[in-house]
């Protein structure tokens, strides 16, 4: 596992280029000068949603792509669940908004070509697609698990088939792929893939199930946590996650700046699930 130094985050005024509705989600394309430069899969951005809302809204960077005249633009996946995300999905193209990023500690990449299983549930599967690309560049065998409550909440299942050697689709209602949860399917997938590293992004119970399965299979796990973040920059101590340190001592880590990607065997999942 290795990470090279990279340019730090910037706080800039960005511009919304386009919003496209795909299933239950909105894909936002954003110009934010300097944010794409240091991007690694697992990074996220924080956006300001109107002047009177102080807390930032954080989103996984789904894609970084060159667009003529703009340099590299960002693609984010947004589900309108609250006032902030609803405001964002209704924002007119051309609108300006404050963007901070790239933020957070990204997924650590293996040094050698190993078998990797990537598990993403709902819109949180967003960072796994650029991750799959990086892993394939390193000749890693990539197996993807894309999950969601139903077909509308499956992120880019078609594209998944292009990015991975094997794809398993899981929906809670069985509308597409196999019916059930990630927890039901993960053991079989890990065994079939002979996984050595498991990457996961999604709700806490899913991450817990994946981390436990990885441990049972003797694989490393890297879990991308999504917690409510007020500042997203490591300042406010609002997003602490209970972890066990290298020294075996229990402490807390900030999801935004010590994470969002944490080793699955380091997170005290039961304590985290007790937080409501």
């Amino acid at each position: 596992m290795t990470q090279a130094p990279r340019p730090g985050p910037v706080h800039v005024t960005g511009e919304l280029l386009a919003t496209k509705k795909v299933g239950a989600y909105h894909h936002l394309t954003l110009v934010a000068p300097g944010v794409a430069d240091g991007f690694r899969p697992g990074n996220f951005v924080a956006l300001s949603v109107s002047e009177s809302r102080l807390a930032r809204r954080s989103f996984w960077i789904h894609r970084v792509k060159p667009v003529g005249g703009y340099g590299a633009v960002l693609e984010l996946v947004v589900e309108a669940v609250g006032p902030g995300t609803t405001w964002l999905t209704r924002l007119a193209p051309g609108s300006r908004l404050e963007v901070t990023g790239p933020l957070g500690r990204p997924f650590a990449l293996p040094k050698e070509a190993v078998s990797c299983v990537l598990v993403g549930e709902g819109y949180a599967a967003a960072p796994l697609f650029p991750l799959a690309e990086r892993l394939r560049e390193r000749d890693c065998a990539v197996t993807l698990v894309v999950a969601g409550p139903d077909e509308a909440h499956l992120l880019s299942a078609l594209e998944a088939r292009r990015s991975a050697r094997s794809v398993t689709v899981v929906t809670a209602d069985g509308s597409v792929g196999r019916r059930g949860s990630v927890a039901d399917a993960i053991d079989e997938v890990l065994a079939r893939a002979g996984a050595e590293v498991v990457y996961a992004a999604g709700p806490v119970p899913t991450l817990h199930a994946v981390a436990a399965a990885a441990e049972a299979h003797g694989a490393w796990s890297q879990t991308a946590l999504e917690r409510p973040l007020a500042c997203a920059t490591g300042l406010c101590q609002g997003c602490v996650v209970p972890v066990v340190g290298e020294d075996g001592v229990s402490r807390t880590a900030r999801a935004c700046s010590d994470g969002p990607v944490l080793r699955g065997d380091r997170v005290r999942w039961a304590d985290l699930e007790a937080v409501r």
Binding site: L54, P228, A230, T233
Partner: protein, 282 residues
């Protein structure tokens, strides 16, 4: 240049306690040396894990927070955070909180002899003091006894800033009392006592509290014209900062705005500087 409590500051804008992380997180967006000073989160003698989650909730133009003074305690702060801060070319003001007068005195003694500490800010206005176990300052004489304990144990040349709550009824009396007890300046403004949606004790910060803080700063400046006052509370723009300076504040602190925009303090410094430059060249 700004003169505050015998210190020369590069600008009349400081980072408020608890809103700048360890300093490193903010420094990612611009040098701390551009700012007038950096006030650390409140440091306690022993490590504090902080309160339970959720810790922060959004309200209209504000944030309600119950972080519970999470900090590594004095020893790790001296070993790992202060040496880095001291090299950033900014004034380092260490905020302290204690559960007893003895703890405040001990903190003052140790920090006052540590290289790189420009001043001590005594947190006398923690909005959730009773639940955090911090010395509960209810009366002005409580605040004065803390300031006296700190003042007695600090080496000369390390000024004491007393951070008071924006209780409009008591703030002038509180300011007068702590200044008499040895404070070199008062910081008027902290989170207002509030509650999380589930009823836990918390503080309210952000633009929502600015008018309350401004009223308190104006009254202290009017009634105690010789006092040096640092204004804080909901400042997010250059105009906000100017309002506080206009009623007599020597400097301002920027807090919650940094959680929304990590460049907010630097932006306000630049805005004030541009205005001064314009005025002198006109």
């Amino acid at each position: 240049m700004t003169e505050l409590a015998g210190l020369t500051l590069a600008a009349p804008v400081l980072v408020a306690s608890g809103c700048g992380g360890t300093g490193r997180e903010l420094a990612a967006y611009g040098p701390l040396a551009d700012l007038g000073g950096f006030v650390t989160r409140s440091i306690t003698l022993n490590p504090r894990p902080g309160g339970p989650q959720p810790r922060i909730a959004e309200t209209p133009s504000g944030l309600v927070h119950a972080v519970g003074l999470q900090n590594p305690g004095l020893e790790p702060f001296l070993a790992t955070e202060l040496p880095w801060l001291a090299q950033q070319g900014t004034r380092v003001v260490v905020s302290i909180a204690g559960s007893s007068l003895g703890e405040y005195a001990e903190l003052a003694r140790r920090l006052g002899r540590s290289p790189g500490v420009s001043a001590i800010e005594v947190n006398l206005s923690s909005p959730d003091a009773p639940t955090t176990g911090v010395f509960d300052v209810r009366e002005p004489f409580h605040a004065a006894s803390v300031v006296a304990a700190v003042h007695r144990d600090l080496p000369r040349g390390v000024p004491v800033l007393a951070k008071l709550r924006t209780d409009v009824v008591r703030v002038v009396e509180s300011a007068r009392t702590v200044l008499d007890a040895g404070a070199d300046a008062v910081v008027v403004g902290n989170a207002l006592p509030a509650a999380m949606p589930d009823g836990r004790q918390a503080g309210l910060s952000g633009p929502a509290i600015l008018p309350v803080a401004l009223r308190c700063v104006a009254e202290v400046c009017a009634d105690l014209p010789d006092a040096q006052v640092v204004g804080a509370g909901g400042i997010t723009s250059v105009d906000d900062a100017r309002s506080f300076l206009a009623v007599g504040a020597t400097a301002v602190q920027v807090g919650a705005a940094l959680l929304h925009d990590p460049t907010a303090a630097a932006r306000i410094v630049a805005g004030l500087h541009a205005a001064t430059t314009d005025a002198t060249t006109d």
